[in-house]
């Protein structure tokens, strides 16, 4: 009843091309923003921040990044973990080299450096396609992790081989280091996520996004209608890596604080983010959020139910977690190969006709 285009007259081109054309959607979007910025910061505690909200926000950024590359441009990548590591180490080097510059700028610069690395590894995509490319991106994953492990310049010759985030402040609030409050962690990730989602949403609606989708749907046909595949693929790799780099920088600096590269940014991370976008929905910004929420919540819920409710030993619950994650992924793919975003789309279609479907 409320969810209608009818009666919502657009009087300018600007109105006509806005992100949320339906009034209800627009208000829902403002409401979500208001809750995220205005209410959650007052309710948040350490447990919620560290086990659910902060990882959710950071993985959402990474999922948006990967979704640009895989969902919108159709290039399957298994190098997400490696690119997140680039973001983390770039951020660390910048933080320690220029301690006076704000961390927010460092995080963005880390994203930029990751974008350059991503474009370098994206170059072969012009020749290699499909699964061959997916396996080729594994080269990035393993090479980068090895590089950060072996070359001690990257971790400032520290004895443990770890990188540890020094204390940094934004507007007088500490955002990295051991004494950071839950609210500060949450807020800085939320700000980055909001901006990232805005940029990504508008990129994918514009010329660049349409070029990506043309390449995804059929690259030769796209070339014939005048899409430059070099430019389209490299920009997709660049933007994707930019977001993934930011996610990696936040993951290291804000969320974990100290990182050992093989453990934090291994191949498992690549698969995790890929699961997020598959379960959430390829080629959908909303899907990136939904998938990230799903994959972050799942282990928490399983642990709550398994260990706390039924009192199973933790190792059995850990095994069950593998079984359930695997089973759910398969179940999802069988039931809805286009992910949670498709369910959302179907629901919205139904809502438009409710309560009088023809």
């Amino acid at each position: 009843m409320l969810y209608r285009e009818a009666g919502d007259f657009k009087t300018s081109y600007q109105d006509d091309s806005q992100t949320f054309p339906i009034t209800f959607d627009r208000y829902r979007y403002y409401a979500v923003l208001a809750i995220a910025f205005g209410i959650i910061p007052f309710l948040i505690n350490d447990y919620w921040a560290s086990s659910i909200l902060v990882p959710f926000l950071i993985y959402s950024i990474a999922a948006i990044g990967l979704n640009i590359l895989t969902g919108y441009c159709g290039q399957v990548s298994l190098g997400t973990g490696g690119f997140m590591a680039v973001g983390a180490y770039a951020c660390y080097k910048l933080m320690t080299a220029f301690p006076d510059v704000s961390i927010a700028i460092h995080v963005v610069l880390a994203g930029g450096i990751t974008a350059l690395v991503g474009m370098a590894f994206g170059l072969p995509s012009l020749r290699i396609k499909g699964f061959y490319l997916a396996v080729a991106t594994l080269a990035a994953q393993f090479f980068l992790v090895w590089l950060f492990n072996k070359v001690s310049w990257f971790y400032n010759y520290s004895a443990s081989g770890q990188i540890t985030a020094p204390d940094r402040f934004v507007f007088g609030y500490q955002v990295t280091g051991a004494e950071t409050t839950a609210v500060a962690k949450y807020m800085i990730c939320l700000v980055f996520l909001t901006i990232a989602a805005l940029i990504a949403r508008n990129l994918t609606r514009g010329m660049l996004g349409r070029q990506w989708m043309a390449i995804r749907d059929m690259d030769i046909a796209a070339e014939i209608i005048g899409v430059n595949p070099l430019k389209a693929k490299l920009t997709a790799f660049g933007w994707s890596s930019f977001f993934i780099g930011i996610a990696g920088a936040l993951f290291f600096a804000v969320y974990l604080g100290a990182v050992e590269v093989g453990e934090a940014f291994g191949i498992q991370k690549s698969f995790l983010v890929l699961f997020m976008i598959i379960i959430g929905g390829l080629g959908s910004i909303f899907g990136s959020f939904a998938g990230a929420a799903f994959m972050v919540l799942l282990p928490v819920v399983l642990k709550l139910v398994g260990v706390d409710l039924f009192g199973f030993p933790t190792d059995i619950v850990a095994h069950f977690q593998l079984v359930i994650v695997g089973g759910l992924i398969i179940l999802f793919l069988v039931a809805e190969p286009h992910g949670l975003a498709q369910l959302w789309r179907v629901a919205k279609e139904k809502l438009r006709l409710w309560p009088f479907p023809y």
Binding site: H319, V325, I330
Partner: protein, 332 residues
């Protein structure tokens, strides 16, 4: 002959042996990819699962013992018998066939016609699932697998090649197990080739690999062929699992050999059985030689983790379909 050179030869020989083991895993990939277009990430976990099951059966472990104990408070571990290796291998093969049937009927039959990436993701899901089930069934501790294969270095070879070098050289150091693995791999490939060339089912399998619809129209049951292919991949995984398990114990890291098999596939082409073998050998020799000549002296070692991928990546830039892959023809 200079000692350095002889060490180089030894490295190459060891690389060839390692390459054979990679090729064994890659073979399973190729079988499934050819017949159904599924890029089977779970091949490594299949090998792990097969090896776990084999050890479990041989030792007479009670499946799901840990879980049963946790629920009912019992204290069961073993049935108290030991199954001879041959019988255990046969039983494990039967388990793999059952698994193949389940995988096809519960998962991939419902995903026929989906995009390749969806199928790929499903195999990753399958990998997680199988890993969890394997751990639940047989426990996650490291197990030793002993099916009576010879172990240790071959002294005969060592003594008889020692004369090649000077004082410093003690002869080629090559693991007997690796030699057995090579032999088994050769036999396995010959058997697979014979099977696919001369038996009715093998021919049907090749027909399916060529064209699903044409195969259907001449009365080949796709369901049967897919179960067959997954069973074959299960057998190959069992062989790979035995070899790797006997070499380095049955543990989680066994499933990571799947990752090592991927560059092999890229080099050889996803659709070529000879490609898997040659690719395996190139990767095996290449990464050992690179580590020996450049990695360890100049780059701080552990280059084996990524060298295979980078080699495959550079190679693919010049030949996108791999060494023996079918030429990629693109039409609009």
């Amino acid at each position: 002959m200079p000692t350095e050179f002889l060490y180089g030869v030894e490295v190459v020989l060891n690389g060839l042996m390692a390459g054979v083991l990679y090729a064994l895993v890659a073979l399973g990939f190729v079988l499934i990819f050819k017949a159904s277009g599924i890029f089977n990430y779970a091949q490594g976990v299949l090998a792990l699962f097969a090896a776990l099951t084999l050890v479990g059966i041989m030792e007479g472990q009670v499946p799901f013992a840990h879980l049963i104990n946790a629920i009912f408070g019992t204290e069961i571990h073993h049935f108290g018998w030991h199954v001879p290796a041959v019988l255990a291998i046969l039983l494990t093969a039967a388990v793999m066939v059952l698994l193949a049937w389940c995988v096809h009927n519960f998962v991939f039959r419902h995903l026929v016609g989906q995009e390749p990436i969806i199928l790929f993701m499903a195999t990753i899901g399958l990998a997680y699932f199988l890993e969890g089930v394997g751990d639940l069934m047989w426990g996650s501790n490291i197990k030793t697998l002993d099916v009576g294969l010879p172990q240790g270095a071959s002294f005969w070879l060592e003594e008889n090649t020692a004369f090649l070098g000077g004082e410093e050289f003690y002869g080629f150091f090559i693991d007997k197990l690796d030699m057995v693995a090579t032999l088994v791999a050769v036999l396995l490939v010959i058997a697979l080739v014979l099977f696919s060339q001369y038996t009715k089912q093998g021919r049907a399998m090749r027909a399916v690999a060529d064209d699903h619809q044409a195969a259907l129209s001449v009365g080949i049951s796709l369901n049967f062929i897919w179960v067959l292919v997954w069973s074959l991949a299960g057998f190959v995984a069992l062989v790979a699992g035995i070899m790797w398990g006997a070499k380095s114990g049955v543990q989680f890291s066994l499933s990571l050999i799947a990752l090592k098999a991927l560059p092999v596939l890229m080099l050889g082409g996803f659709t070529s059985i000879p490609g898997a073998i040659v690719g395996g050998l190139i990767i095996g020799v290449g990464e050992k030689l690179f580590e020996f000549l450049i990695g360890a002296p100049y780059l701080g070692g552990a280059t084996e983790n990524w060298f295979a991928y980078v080699l495959a990546l550079i190679f693919l830039v010049f030949r996108p379909q791999g060494l023996f892959g079918e030429k990629i023809i693109e039409r609009v």
